[in-house]
Structure formats: structure tokens, C-alpha cells
Amino acid sequence: MRVELSSEQTKYVAHVRQFVDQEIVPNADQYDVEQCLPETLVDKLRAGGYLGAVVPKRYDGQELDMITFGLLCREFGRGCSSVRTLLTVQSMVCQVLRRWGNEEQKAHWLPRLGRAEAIGAFALSEPEVGSDAASVQTVAVLRDGQYVINGKKKWISFAQIADVFLVFTQCEGRQSALLVERDTPGLRVRPIRGMLGTRASMLGELTFEECAVPAGNLVGGEDFGLTAIALTALDLGRYSVAWGCVGIGDACLEASLRYSSERKQFGTPIRNHQLVAQLVADMVTNVSAAALLCHRAGQLRDDADPQSIGVTCMAKYFASRMASRVTSDTVQLHGAVGCSDETSIQRYYRDAKIMEIIEGSNQIQQLLISGFAYKDNLSSAMDWAHD
């Protein structure tokens, strides 16, 4: 296993870092307060091509390799977890269509999503269904060449601005994924506000009442709606969130190094106090370890290795726990300053908690990881000699 970036990857990351520092970091606290991303930012993301990161070039996307995509998520996560969430959900929908869409669906949607002329959203969770995704209660019935959908979806990121939803339904007892355009009669979107973290993710609740879409909007086979479609999306989502957590860690580390060097107590910068040094040591160690796990997951994903799924779960689990711990320590190190809205630190702290819940809670990740461990195929994936 080699951990190094190509010159193209290094150049791309430097470019993204500059964009994040100029366009996202100065405004992210305001996004959090206003609980939305402004259209001007979405325009800039569109112009930069970032939202088409995983779309093939022939559909006007960037077709980034998985390491570069991860580094993009890391930088966006450093600036604003809500912006990173937009990149994540857009990429999840794109990845599903790229992987399992038919030729018509690819030709219609991938260029629009790749150029971000359309925003996609992933609609799996329901008021009564979270981790137990196989039990979705939204129903689709095939009638006269159309799927007629009834039910509710909840906590859907960027539902407020999405142009197309990938909706998971029960269709005659089988889980199926359907593309539903925003202006389809029978679909209503209610904004959800007041979340703890990633408050600018523009969540919404979807209500489907006799909402009819063409039969051609079915993605993949009916048998594999949940298996192939949802897992393809969630797998990429976990990878993206994991790198986003590393970005949160980067932001905390940067703030903590600066503050502990400037802030004086007992006549000396607080970095000279051993218990503060301990916080910083743990912080930098854990951020680095999470980045290495994410990097390994990226390598395996680029190799289309079956072990990439388990290592991605580990990366997401470890990185999200790391983010919670590091943000908590960063608040601690900053004291009252960390608790106030004078800085971004309280936002990092609130955002980090969300990372332990989305794209499969940490408890679900633990179940999955332990399952892989019993098959002894996770530790071997981390072997230096594996390659």
C-alpha cells in the first residue's frame, strides 16, 4: 500500500482548497444560521464542475478517481459539512445512475446531473423507517404503464432544491427504486428546519399521493431495488462522509493549533500546558489515522475490490467517531470561545454528531464491520502486502 498523490491529484486539491478558502469558509457560519445554501454558491459549485465529480466525462462530468473524489470531500468538509452533503447526495444519485441506470436514463439524467443543471436527492428514510431500510412503507403500484406512488419520505437532504428524487418503494413486496421529478403531480415537499447540525442541508419531507411516474423511471430490476441501488448509493455516501469527517478534523486541528499558540494563560501560550498538548497530540494522530483509512478505502474502490465495502464501513465509522471526539476536544481547548457563535467551532461540533448517524448509524457500521471481521477479510485488506 502506497500513500502518495499523483501530480494531477495534488494540483486538483490545491485548486479545490483555494475555492473552499475563498468561497465557502468565509460564509459557512452564515449558511448555518440561515439554514440554507444560497443559489450563488450553487452556481459557483456548478461552474467549478464539482457536483459532477463521479459522472463520466462523456456525460459532461469530471470522472474523478476515488482518491481525488475523497480529497474533494475532505476539502468541502473542512469548509462546510452542508456543502459536502450536497456533493455527497448528488454523487450518490449520479453513481446509481452510472452504475445501474439504463441507457435512456443515463443519456437523459447524467449530463444534467454532471453539469449540475439538475440536483438529485436520495429518498430512502421515512418517518417510521431508518436503519431497517428493507422495511420502507412507501408503496408503488404498476398501473397502466405507470408506477403510482403513495407514502412519505423524511429527512431527505436537499429536498428543498432537488430537481429529481431517487425514491425507494415497496412494489408488490419487492423493493424498487424510482426516479421522481420534482414537478410530478402528487408530490409535495415540506422543508424541515431546526436540525442540530449540517443545518444548511435543506432537508425536507416528501409526501406522495397518487404520484404517477412512467414505468421507465424504474432504476435497476425490481428484485434489486434495495440491494444494488441503495447499497451502491450508501457505499459511496459512506466514503464521502468519511472523508468529510477528515475535513472537519482538519478544520479543528487548524483552529486548535492557532488558538493554543496565541492564547496565554499563567503567563504562557496554552500549548505549553501538558494537558493541552495531550489534546493536540490525540487530535493530529486521530485525524491522520482516519485519513489513512479513507485513503485505503479509496485505493480498494479504484480497484473495484470487493473488500472496499468493508473498509469503507470502517473508514466511515472511525472517521465519524474521530470527528465527534476531535470537535469536542476543540470546543474544550477553546473554552467559552468554542461555545459561542464568534467562531465556527460550535458548528463543527454540531455537524460532527450528524456524521455518526447519516448513511448508516455507527451502530449499523459496527454490526457490518464485525460481520466482515469474522470472515477475516478486513484485516487482510489493510495488509501492507495486500497489493
Partner: protein
């Protein structure tokens, strides 16, 4: 004569499912072996191992129900992919 394709598939499945001496026609779905994670791992495995491209139209449980079914599916795909060429749109996990 040993069927290398079937043997390779068998080794992967028995390792992943921690099962031994599965019959070629044992129904992996009815036996409760196939969950969503395993199904995706299986897709990645056959694509990588046999250099085939699993497409949306292939997402049929009948193709993945048993070692025999998977072996037959791989052979059909190898045959059709070699004559039609592979699409790069579906690559990656």
C-alpha cells in the same frame, strides 16, 4: 475435468459465507445467505475476477441464486462482452 470458473466462484462464496460443501445448485437466496452487502460484493467479485460488466438488465436474482446460476451468468457475459465490448460507465463499486 475441473470447471475453473465454478471452482473460483465456489471458493469466493464459501469464504464469504463461511459455508462448506455447498452444492452447485443450492439456493443461496432461500438459504438466507444473500444479503445486500454480499450481493454487491458478489457483483464486484465477478466483474473483477472475470472481467465482465454487470449491467442494470443483469440485476435478476435468477443470475445469482446458486453457484451454477452464477457460473452460467459469467459464461454468458464473457461471451456477450467479448463480442460487444464493455461499457466503462458501470465500472467501480
Amino acid at each position: 475435468m475441473v470447471d475453473e470458473t465454478a471452482q473460483t466462484i465456489r471458493r469466493f462464496i464459501e469464504t464469504q459465507l463461511q459455508a462448506e460443501e455447498l452444492s452447485d445448485d443450492e439456493d443461496l437466496v432461500d438459504a438466507g445467505y444473500v444479503n445486500s452487502l454480499f450481493a454487491i460484493q458478489l457483483v464486484l467479485f465477478v466483474e473483477r475476477q472475470f472481467r465482465i460488466s454487470v449491467q442494470d438488465g443483469d440485476l435478476d436474482l435468477a443470475n445469482f441464486r446458486s453457484i451454477s446460476a452464477i457460473t452460467g451468468f459469467v459464461r454468458r457475459k464473457q461471451s456477450s462482452d467479448s463480442s460487444a465490448g464493455q461499457s466503462d460507465d458501470s465500472s467501480g463499486p
